[in-house]
């Protein structure tokens, strides 16, 4: 589709952040983006968009659990619209708190149909008991998804994290194995060499099972990730920036989104 006709919706509620950064990143690549409070998302309006982003932050104060309140609100207010959006093959990305929201809503990992009736995973407190706010290495493993199509399998990206609850745990070993078997682990925390962190701190910042930093749904059009690609878009945002250079690594994720939309 003509990119000039496509639009992205970046949802926000009280406590979200980096919505503006996501918008700048997308608009830099030519995708017009609306930052929209969920209360303004009238019934049916989602169909105007090709991409929906749940940004990071601390929605509703992270009360109950990170992402839990917003996740349930998504189900009560826009469940049908969101299901249709996903079934249509449009893209949904949850970043950090947005990933927690998608998990709490049962969108990720998802069920046999589309969403699961109860969450089948959780982003639990970091094993370090600290708020981990720093740059990490990610290993691309999901180049079949639109989000990572510009990232080769085994390629290493540097992107920052900023979270206290990022330890991905699945409902059962079976759910984890299914994610791995079906190539739905999109990014893993790694060592600088690209070797998976295998749980070793500080490379795996939170103790996630299988070093999981990002997963996608069965069809690959919904992805949740704990790291913030919008904080690693321009070269001058990159760690150790010392002057003019190419873009930062997170840009590849946004470029993958743009490629996909142009093919719609």
């Amino acid at each position: 589709m003509d990119l000039r006709k496509a639009r992205a919706c970046i949802l926000r509620v009280g406590g979200t952040n980096c919505d503006a950064e996501v918008r700048v990143a997308l608009e830099e690549l030519g995708l017009r983006s609306d930052v929209l409070h969920m209360n303004w998302l009238e019934k049916g309006r989602l169909s105007e968009y090709q991409l929906l982003v749940f940004p990071g932050g601390f929605s509703y104060g992270d009360y109950v659990r990170a992402g839990a309140v917003w996740g349930k609100k998504v189900l009560t207010r826009i469940r049908r619209d969101l299901e249709r959006f996903v079934e249509d093959g449009r893209l949904v990305m949850g970043i950090c708190n947005g990933f927690q929201v998608l998990v709490e809503a049962g969108v990720l990992p998802g069920g046999d149909g589309s969403f699961s009736t109860t969450p089948r995973a959780v982003l639990a407190n970091n094993k370090s008991a600290k708020y981990e706010c720093r740059w990490v290495f990610l290993r691309g493993e999901g180049s079949q998804t639109p989000f990572a199509r510009r990232v080769g399998n085994g390629e290493t990206l540097r992107v920052p994290v900023g979270h206290g609850e990022g330890r991905f745990l699945s409902e059962s070993e079976g759910v984890l194995q299914e994610l791995i078997r079906s190539n739905r682990v999109v990014f893993r925390y790694s060592r600088p060499s690209g070797e998976p962190a295998k749980g070793a701190y500080p490379f795996n910042p939170n103790g996630s099972s299988y070093d999981i930093a990002a997963i996608c749904n069965r069809d690959g059009n919904v992805m949740g990730m704990m790291p913030h690609p919008e904080r690693a878009f321009f070269g001058w945002q990159a760690v150790g920036y010392g002057g003019p250079q190419g873009p930062a690594d997170g840009r590849k994720i946004f470029e993958g989104i743009i490629d996909y939309i142009m093919e719609l």
Partner: protein, 87 residues
């Protein structure tokens, strides 16, 4: 009738509790001789129900739908008192 119900949500047995570990260490720093600490969250909820059994069932549903995540949490529900009754 209004009932006061307590719902306590905590990590399942065997799940690592980083917050509990930090609390245990801090208590030891203060000179207390403590073993492990597990942190849980208690919600005191006014529930409109026909009887205590229904109030308990409703609070359990609240835990399943919002307050607990079944991947890591267990919960326990207790009816504390019925509005206006002290016996």
């Amino acid at each position: 009738m209004m009932f006061l119900v307590k719902a306590e949500v905590g990590l399942k047995r065997g799940h690592f509790d980083p917050e509990g570990d930090v609390v245990a260490k801090s208590l030891r720093d203060l000179g207390f001789s403590v073993g492990s600490v597990r942190v849980s969250k208690a919600y005191t909820i006014e529930v409109d129900a026909r009887d205590a059994a229904e109030a308990k069932a409703l609070a359990e549903e609240m835990c399943r739908k919002l307050l607990a995540n079944p991947t890591k949490d267990d919960f326990m529900v207790e009816v504390l008192l019925i509005e206006g009754r002290t016996d």
